[in-house]
Symmetry: C2
């Protein structure tokens, strides 16, 4: 993986650390979210596997080093730096929460301790990978909650922020609770169920809707989902039912979904197709799904695209990556910021989760019976620790962890008061000590 | 490039076309935007180079075919289909507008004519690539307009929807008018200027701000930009000025930017650093930049991250890819949809741009003196046509094309009436004919 996929200032800082003789000083950085986006009561951590893959494989290729050497910013850098880039490997330690873990503001998704250069260069990649997948996993959890147990499938690659983002969106949506994705590459790469049958263009490419339906059924048999709104939805439902034989169901992509789903259900039932299901798609989000379910729309599954793959009501959540410790020849310093909007707490941390609240503690604190330590080692000395978990296991972990949260947090709207996150006595004491030191 | 990076239904439809003996029938699809997002008066087309690269290189790898063969959806497919996937190449024709072209709703960014299978499978990738880059290029054009000629640099990879999206965001932002990007890989891949010096963690890693500044200046010399808000912005400005020597300037990342920029300007001027510039960053967008400029803030350059790389006020714009023609053994049919919200016009199109308005016409119409035909051949018979343009040329094209638009369209707010897009007589006639045919 290209080490150039980062902000230039990470590389100028790396050069600066090298030139200042600081490249082997170590630092601990923590990645966390300062505030939750509107209407969210927690976020679901995701993207850690891609973060780990990156750290284990990040390298500078020869042509990348040549590119940097030609930039004016690196004019004053000595030869040793270029050799350091050629040899560049991540040799540090990473602790992280398992993917699918619900988290709250200020709680680290990961902390990373490494020589300054190795800790600085990955910042941009880690934030983009974990930030985006956590956004989508969180959105998926909301959609699944709104659907009250009905299936939600991720259909958003076409509106994702690049095709590659679509691949990751499918993965993160599955971890957050979706049943699967339409992205076929996501299915293959991560062992995730894939869904999809036909679009309006399929219907349009046949002289009649009926012939299009017949051909689809010949191909897909019991897996067939007829898209019935190309011309007239109710007529489409009658045509689908007239073909008989087992089929999965029908898909509605436009119109008043409450009225149409009820009318279509009646047509299917009257034709004896009691097993046939109804799927709804078309600019859906958690609020519309909630409304459809509340109105008793007999919809069995939802396909969600744009709003899920772009988390469109909250397309970012300001994840940050902040230095909390720094060790040099002068000893260890704990670093923090105390400005009003952008404060950070010093020192490497652990999150202890109790049934009713979390405690944000210093990383070396012993945990008490009845709580769980959320951050676990995933890379030690540049080497991965433990086995790789599958997306299905992460999805299961998300489901179980979300179920254990206080029920009110599952609301689609902000709950007041928010979830309780206490600071441990040791962390409070460290914070006071650091505040007392002139910066 | 993996042909599996698409929605599963594109592949089930491809199998269906094959099984129905329709795989060699040809279709024309058009990619366009139905409506502009709020406050936009045009969009800037981008992402075409990646779309072309994809079409020229899309393939099914052996393990990808094996994956599909094992899916239940493909149980009834005959062996010939798998051979067709092994041999899969894009052999069709593509006409597209040059990157950087401003466009209006309903105007095709590209049209693509190919055998049904080859036209269907790329839909998802093309929409995601062109959709996203056009969003970001459009946002960049707004930021540049708001800044009134000051430099705007793209800093958003960390908040982009995956690191890969960050690479494309940097490219698209540059085409839309940004001066450059912080994404170093974008710089190398596309020959785009890269910017960046140091973050707060750089300052924090030294015992004092002054030492951090000295070390940075030793590295970067006249390119140095001091980040001065880590502890106290005005004190930071004084320290930067005290170091003397030529430096690029200072960066403000927090606080009241109007007051701070004026105070910092005074400090720099009082110290004789008249050449030193002021850059502002920190959750900026086009509205905040407009306000800063209107308030006379002496800011020389803006760095914009989250809002640009995610187009956060409009993280999608509903680009669609619709079949407009279909040729089978039964002859050529023109396809369209006439539903209220989702209507499409039939037939392959051309856009003729006059100084005051556009005419959306049929693709074979001759154009009149005084207008420009926007769609040009880029792939014919699967082979690229013409030379590859650079990102810098596309940026230049965007700038020149935007300058030619009626001035009122450059407002950051919706103008009324919107830009005039007429339909040609031939297109109107075709539309009426198609409306008259029972579907």
């Amino acid at each position: 993986m290209s080490a150039l996929l980062t902000d230039l200032y990470q590389l100028t800082m790396a050069a600066g650390y090298w030139c200042a003789g600081k490249a082997r000083e170590t630092a601990t950085f923590e990645l966390f979210v300062r505030r939750l986006p509107p209407n969210r009561n927690f976020l679901v951590a995701a993207g850690l596997q891609q973060a780990i893959d990156y750290l284990l494989n990040v390298r500078f290729a020869k042509e990348e080093i040549d590119y940097l050497r030609a930039l004016p910013q690196f004019r004053n850098v000595d030869e040793g730096f270029w050799q350091a880039l050629r040899d560049f490997r991540f040799t540090g330690d990473v602790f992280a929460v398992p993917e699918g873990t619900p988290l709250f503001p200020g709680e680290p998704i990961l902390n990373l301790r490494a020589p300054l250069m190795e800790a600085q260069i990955p910042e941009t990649f880690l934030l983009a990978t974990i930030g985006f997948q956590s956004l989508v996993a969180t959105k998926a959890a909301r959609l699944v909650e709104a659907s009250g147990g009905r299936a939600v499938v991720e259909f958003g690659t076409r509106r994702a922020h690049s095709p590659e983002a679509g691949v990751y969106a499918g993965r993160a949506a599955y971890i957050g609770g979706c049943t699967g994705t339409s992205n076929t590459l996501t299915g293959m790469l991560y062992g995730i169920p894939v869904f999809g049958t036909a679009a309006h263009s399929w219907i349009q490419s046949f002289p009649s809707e009926l012939e299009a339906f017949e051909r689809l059924h010949r191909l897909l048999g019991p897996a067939t989902t007829y898209l019935i709104d190309t011309y007239d939805t109710l007529e489409g439902a009658r045509r689908a039912a007239s073909l008989g034989g087992p089929f999965w169901g029908v898909r509605l992509d436009s119109g008043n979904l409450v009225e149409l789903s009820k009318a279509v259900r009646a047509i299917l039932d009257d034709s004896g197709c009691h097993e046939a299901k109804i799927m709804a798609t078309g600019d859906l989000n958690e609020y519309k799904i909630l409304e459809l379910c509340a109105a008793g729309a007999p919809i069995d599954a939802f396909g969600v695209g744009t709003e899920l793959a772009t988390s469109s009501d909250a397309p970012s959540h300001g994840a940050v990556y902040k230095m909390v410790e720094h060790s040099s020849g002068l000893g260890r310093r704990y670093t923090a910021k105390f400005s009003q909007d952008k404060s950070t707490l010093p020192g490497a941390k652990q999150v202890f989760r109790y049934p009713t609240h979390d405690v944000l503690a210093r990383s070396h604190e012993c945990f008490m019976p009845g709580c769980e330590a959320l951050l676990r080692p995933v890379i030690i000395g540049g080497t991965p620790v433990g086995r790789q978990v599958t997306a299905t296991e992460s999805r299961q972990h998300a489901r179980e962890s979300i179920e254990k949260l206080p029920r009110k947090l599952l609301s689609l709207f902000e709950c007041d008061p928010p979830y309780r996150v206490d600071l441990s006595d040791a962390l409070l004491q460290l914070t006071e000590e650091v505040k007392g030191i002139p910066q």
